[in-house]
């Protein structure tokens, strides 16, 4: 089996398109980072303050800051340090619950969302007790920094990793048609069971591409911004928030996350999405037996997911909206709010993790079914 895996990797080496795609992706991501260069002085100021005085804004830090901060730091962070407060103290999530359930009317979905915000109240009380809101993070520009990393770069990296994985999965199937080796391959002892080997190879390469993109892009962004010292800040800092329409709300997560921990968690979830994409491409490629048709079908499916979600919301078909929230593309589009309450988009805690977990099981079952079906179908040359 190892020899077969190595052979599949060698087939990819015959196709330099993957390296080209990765290079273009890194260039694209670099442009996104470069476009946020205005953040550099604010981030470096916050990082310097964190190094000098710690990351938690309290009386000790305020006094030390007042005594020792540079003029630049005072200009950039003075107000933030002076006026920071524990915003979670006394916060009532029932207001959010009422806001999100109002359009739903009395319904089982509304009841689930209410239950979700009751659970979130416990998290809010915990955040209040730990003083998470008082972490400096990147000060007044925390939202911009956080959304650069997790609202733009992370979805880009996940999307690029998924595309690379899909391309690899389809290329490994298509290479046999292009080379005219399908008959030789499927009549061998291994036969049609080469397809899971191809899937394993595609998954390995797709995930490797994703890890490379994530490390280079996010690592490069953190280095470029000088945000290394901010990795220990709590993502639920009062300076971090979510904007949904005309609503601005704190960044409340279902678990305690430092910036580094949140980065790892989103990378892990992103890897699961990439794996889902690869398995789906492999399964559909086996069913359609044509890489181009498979690519078109995947593109159509990806486009349809947010369309279904949007149409359901406009029509007030909230059950459909709730179901559509589990679709992988819709989960990916909300990467900017992963592991938070997610408003009306989710009705259970850790919604995105559950959606991806269920999705992985589903696509794995679909792949198994497609391979079994393929084992009984004629080989098309």
């Amino acid at each position: 089996m190892r020899a077969l895996m190595v052979a599949e990797f060698r087939k990819l080496a015959m196709m330099p398109v993957l390296a080209g795609f990765l290079a273009l992706s890194l260039l694209f991501n670099a442009l996104i980072v470069a476009g946020s260069s205005y953040l550099v002085p604010y981030v470096r100021s916050a990082a310097g303050v964190t190094r000098s005085f710690g990351g938690r804004i309290d009386e000790t830090m305020r006094e030390a800051f007042a005594a020792g901060a540079t003029e630049e730091d005072r200009a950039l962070l003075g107000d933030a340090v002076a006026t920071a407060e524990n915003i979670f103290e006394g916060m009532d999530t029932a207001e959010l619950s009422a806001h999100y359930t109002a359009p739903l009317g009395p319904s089982s979905l509304a009841a689930l969302i209410e239950r979700k915000y009751q659970a979130l109240q416990a998290r809010v009380d915990h955040l209040a007790a730990t003083g998470a809101a008082l972490d400096l993070y990147a000060g007044p520009y925390t939202h911009d920094v956080h959304q650069l990393l997790f609202g733009r770069l992370m979805p880009a990296v996940i999307g690029e990793g998924a595309l690379a994985g899909i391309a690899v999965a389809l290329l490994l199937q298509e290479v046999e048609r292009m080379a005219g080796t399908r008959q030789m391959l499927f009549s061998s002892a291994i036969g049609r069971r080469i397809m899971p080997v191809k899937l394993a190879c595609a998954a390995a390469v797709g995930l490797a591409c994703y890890v490379l993109l994530a490390a280079a892009t996010l690592g490069g962004a953190v280095f470029f911004l000088g945000a290394g010292d901010l990795m220990g800040a709590n993502v639920s800092s009062q300076f971090n928030f979510l904007v949904e329409g005309n609503l601005i709300k704190p960044f409340m997560t279902w678990g305690d996350f430092t910036v580094a921990g949140y980065l790892l968690a989103t990378c892990a979830l992103g890897a699961a999405l990439v794996l889902m994409a690869v398995v789906t491409a492999s399964a559909w490629g086996t069913l359609f037996r044509d890489a181009y048709r498979t690519a078109l079908a995947l593109a159509a499916a990806c486009v349809s997911m947010p369309v279904i979600s949007d149409m359901a919301a406009r029509m007030g078909a909230w059950e459909m909206y709730a179901a559509a929230s589990f679709l992988p593309v819709n989960v990916w589009l909300r990467a900017w709010a992963w592991f938070t309450d997610q408003g009306r988009f989710s009705f259970i805690p850790w919604h995105e993790a559950v959606a991806v977990g269920v999705g992985l099981v589903g696509v794995a079952a679909m792949a198994g079914w497609s391979y079994r079906r393929f084992s009984r179908r004629d080989v098309v040359v």
Partner: protein, 310 residues
């Protein structure tokens, strides 16, 4: 022993093979028919690339699709179109095929050397195949079919692209292998199997019929094959088989409905021993065979097929 039991293959409304029953033991079974008759379909079913619409294919009494890998591990298949990875060398490609056939590396490597010698590619064993001619690719295909030392060999048009010397060599190799193996060789070139095939299988209109020796096909034509000058008058019921340049000028080779005694030969006509190709052209007279219209003029006495094909 390979056995087909009432095997039928349909593609939509089209029936390609109907009710085929056949037994193939050790030796060469030549599968001969015009293009499009169903040879490749039959070979592909034996290679498990296509499944029968009806019927079963058995190896020593067990269904080959049920056996799965246990069957395929004993099969060497040369497809009609041999595909290779252009950036691979023959050695690397054969190593890959060996891995697909679960042949251990320590067994495969020496065998690869032997096979490359056998097919005359030893000198280019480590040359990328993107520069190879069609004949060289075909020889790589023959080598890959033999890599696992299979008990069953399925060859679909194996001599395509080979020059006469290579074709003769191939026939010798196959004849040697067939002593202890089941070899099924599909071709529309009669000379490929004329000298090496024991059982000969013909396919016409989806019907598969086996003959245990070429003489079963040629014996009924004894006394019926003549060569007459090209410009000689047409004989009643004659079927034109071809033309060639004779010693005294161009002649046409014909088949007559009935045997003709030596003393009754028309002027200028010479009796000729029937060949397998003659039998093939007579049997498939309604089919367009390799550019030769074997249908012949339909006048004079009605043509009667002696083997049940109508």
């Amino acid at each position: 022993m390979l056995e087909l039991q009432q095997v039928t293959k349909r593609f939509g409304e089209r029936t390609i093979i109907e009710g085929a029953s056949l037994v193939c033991g050790h030796g060469v079974t030549g599968l001969i028919a015009p293009n499009g008759a169903g040879k490749t379909t039959l070979i592909k079913m034996l290679a498990t690339l296509q499944t029968p619409s009806e019927g079963r294919i058995l190896l020593d009494g067990e269904d080959i699709y049920g056996l799965g890998e246990a069957y395929r591990a004993h099969v060497g298949y040369l497809p009609q179109q041999v595909g290779v990875y252009p950036s691979y060398t023959p050695r690397r490609f054969l190593r890959y095929v060996a891995a697909l056939q679960r042949v251990p590396r320590r067994v495969a490597d020496p065998r690869i050397g032997e096979l490359l010698d056998l097919v005359g590619l030893a000198e280019v064993a480590d040359t990328r195949m993107r520069t190879f001619s069609g004949g060289m690719i075909q020889r790589v295909g023959i080598a890959q079919a033999l890599i696992a030392d299979p008990d069953i060999l399925l060859f679909d048009e194996p001599t395509a692209g080979l020059d006469p010397r290579e074709r003769a060599r191939f026939r010798s190799v196959i004849h040697g292998l067939a002593a202890t193996r089941t070899v099924i060789l599909s071709t529309h070139i009669v000379s490929d199997i004329e000298t090496i095939a024991g059982q000969i299988v013909l396919i016409r209109d989806g019907q598969v019929k086996a003959y245990q020796h070429a003489s079963e096909l040629t014996a009924p034509l004894v006394g019926r094959i003549l060569e007459v000058p090209l410009d000689a008058p047409e004989l009643p019921g004659e079927l034109r088989l071809g033309e060639r340049e004779g010693t005294a000028g161009p002649v046409r080779r014909i088949a007559l409905p009935q045997a003709i005694a030596a003393g009754e030969l028309p002027a200028g006509a010479v009796a000729s021993a029937p060949t397998l190709e003659d039998a093939f052209l007579v049997l498939y007279r309604d089919a367009h065979v390799d550019g030769v219209d074997a249908s012949g003029p339909r006048r004079g006495a009605p043509w009667r097929n002696w083997r049940g094909f109508r």
